[in-house]
């Protein structure tokens, strides 16, 4: 699809918008509709659109297989790490009160980090699934 000028130009314009929107969904998730899962999917969709037009190799320039694997693990570790931080703070697992003196601030920080973890893992897994299906054979 690289030969189609309209697709090429529109994709180049639209991908940054998709990525920024995914960040908005990610970080505004505490206050409005959204959150890590949706943001991760939208973020991955931006890269997948780019790859559909310019080829799967384009993704590899940004996310190699190893990078994706590390991202997948890091997101989950961030989520679980928040839980352990609560334990260290003397609270129950995933009790965000441990993150600040003020409980309300603690809740914001805690859910922010958890959703960030979700977003990273979801985006990485979505891209991994796409790359696996799009025909790359070697790992």
């Amino acid at each position: 699809m690289k030969d189609n000028a309209v697709l090429r130009v529109v994709t180049k314009i639209i991908v940054p918008v998709i990525l920024v929107f995914s960040l908005y969904v990610q970080f505004h998730g505490d206050y409005g509709p959204g959150g890590g899962f949706q943001a991760g999917v939208i973020f991955a969709a931006g890269f997948i659109l780019y790859a559909l037009v310019f080829g799967v190799e384009a993704i590899e320039r940004v996310f190699s297989a190893a990078t994706l694997r590390i991202m997948t693990a890091l997101g989950l570790l961030l989520f679980a790490g928040v839980g352990f931080w609560s334990l260290i703070g003397g609270e129950r697992y995933l009790d965000y009160d441990a993150f600040a003196q003020e409980p309300l601030v603690g809740q914001h920080v805690g859910i922010f980090l958890v959703e960030l973890g979700v977003g990273i893992t979801v985006a990485a897994v979505m891209i991994t699934v796409f790359v696996a299906f799009a025909g790359r054979t070697s790992d």
Partner: protein
């Protein structure tokens, strides 16, 4: 201080170890991490068991949100018993896995293999620990998805179709469970199991509640491989890597039995499940037909792994039979068989794993004369097989004895006949293996030697447990009895 957090650590430790495993990738380190974490989980489950042994119930509010609003982790005698089975089997199977998996799974996939293993362990432990119905569904999916991966990593290309078949059936099962939970949420507005039970008792009978029970029973029946919903199981067990077969055969269906018990006896009231709804007779017939038919099918299998897989379906039948008796004695027998079956099938599949390691095949024709060439392996197989039949002084005898007593107590004599007929059929299919291994001469050019010690030690650990728990029944019967009392007590 750490003691109060044990219910959550039980689940979260393997969960955190899984991504670490993914980062390690190097197979030896990944194995070591998985093994150490399994060992830690076993220690945690032992401590938990000691705490709830006196009849205490541990409750843990995740995130500090009190039940029924937040997710509650709840450990009592029933799930402490399940936790110890799952973690102990995971430790033994991982001991075995190091050598076995190195041969059966490609080197670059081994890190992923142990990641999936830890996730599966997380899911199984989570199902057991959680007191929240939706959380249970989430853990069910974690354990199911990772077990599809584990099965798909088998050497045989048919492992992929087996895994896909399981995926389709398992997803249908999980969806049914979700629909059931959704319907319950619709009528009660709560997801906490204890709260569900309290509210359902007040609400009484309705079409929605009946439908919820039906969906949950069928959904769990699929995960349980209850006849006739067992079709995914034989292929999945046959083509999975040896260590995975051991792990899943000894834990996955057991956890499903636990789910069935929790829903039938605690979330719903036993008087509703077995009184207003005719589930008792229904389950008894399915279990009896399942025991007889799958035991018969086992006799005609050429692949020993597949033979034992069909036998597993029959063994699940015994457990469901105990449940369908709806008595304290019946539940004790079901829980006891759950424990003992984990031991015997674990031993048998471990011994087969040793055979597969040396011969590369577990076909009946390939093992001629193996009793002479691999005496220790085949002896362990024999111990497991005797336990499977239910010979006195083995664990299998104890649970069948209790099952027969429970059936007699209810006066259901046909079920006694079914249990004995099932054992006789087991003698036939086991005898085919024994005859081939011990009474046929080995082929001239067959030059196999005994399996390495790293495989024999875990195998004999479980074989020894079969004999130990066949003689000293204090722990197993005591635990099963206490769990049964808890389940029937709250439903009375």
């Amino acid at each position: 201080m750490i003691r109060e957090h044990l219910p959550v650590l039980q689940v979260v430790l393997p969960l955190v170890a899984a991504p670490l495993c993914l980062l390690l990738m190097r197979s030896v380190w990944a194995w070591l991490l998985a093994f150490i974490v399994s060992l830690a989980a076993l220690v945690i489950s032992i401590v938990l068991l000691r705490e709830v042994y006196a009849g205490e119930v541990l409750s843990y509010a995740i995130g500090g949100w009190a039940a029924p609003w937040g997710i509650e982790y709840r450990v009592d005698a029933v799930n402490a018993f399940i936790l110890i089975i799952v973690t102990a089997i995971s430790v033994v199977a991982l001991m075995f896995a190091k050598t076995s998996v190195a041969q059966e799974v490609a080197g670059d996939k081994q890190g992923l293999f142990y990641t999936a293993w830890l996730l599966c362990l997380t899911g199984l432990l989570g199902i057991a620990v959680t007191g929240d119905a939706f959380n249970l569904f989430v853990f069910l999916e974690i354990s199911s998805l990772s077990s599809y991966v584990l099965i798909g990593l088998g050497q045989d290309r048919r492992a992929l179709t087996a895994s896909f078949q399981y995926l389709v059936m398992g997803t249908i099962g999980a969806t049914f469970i979700l629909i059931g939970i959704g319907l319950l949420y619709m009528v009660t507005g709560t997801l906490n199991m204890m709260d569900l039970a309290a509210r359902l008792a007040v609400l009484g009978d309705s079409r929605t509640v009946q439908t919820a029970l039906a969906f949950l029973t069928v959904g769990i029946g699929l995960k349980l491989a209850l006849f006739p919903l067992h079709l995914w199981l034989p292929n999945a067990y046959t083509y999975a890597p040896s260590a995975v077969t051991v792990f899943l055969a000894a834990t996955a269906t057991k956890v499903a039995v636990y789910m069935l018990l929790r829903f039938l006896f605690q979330v719903f009231d036993a008087s509703f499940t077995f009184g207003a709804m005719p589930l008792g007779g229904f389950l008894a017939v399915l279990a009896a037909v399942g025991i007889l038919s799958t035991s018969t099918v086992s006799i005609f299998q050429d692949n020993i792994k597949r033979m034992l897989a069909y036998s597993s379906v029959a063994q699940v039948g015994y457990m469901v039979l105990g449940i369908s008796l709806v008595s304290s004695a019946g539940l004790t027998a079901a829980l006891l068989h759950l424990f003992n079956h984990a031991l015997m099938k674990g031993t048998l599949f471990l011994a087969l794993g040793c055979v597969a390691y040396r011969l590369g095949s577990v076909r009946l024709g390939a093992i001629a004369g193996l009793g002479q060439r691999m005496p220790w392996t085949m002896a362990a197989f024999l111990v497991g097989a005797l336990s499977l039949i239910g010979i006195p002084l083995t664990a299998g005898f104890v649970s069948k004895w209790y099952l027969i007593l429970a059936a007699v107590e209810r006066g259901w004599w046909p079920l006694v006949v079914v249990v004995i007929a099932g054992s006789l059929l087991a003698i036939i299919y086991v005898w085919r293996v024994v005859e081939m291994a011990y009474l046929r001469p080995p082929p001239e050019k067959l030059s196999v030697t005994e399996a390495p010690l790293s495989l024999l030690v875990p195998t004999w650990l479980l074989a020894g447990a079969n004999v130990y728990f066949g003689v000293d029944t204090q722990f197993s019967v005591g635990m099963a009895r206490q769990a049964a009392a808890l389940l029937t007590g709250s439903s009375g």
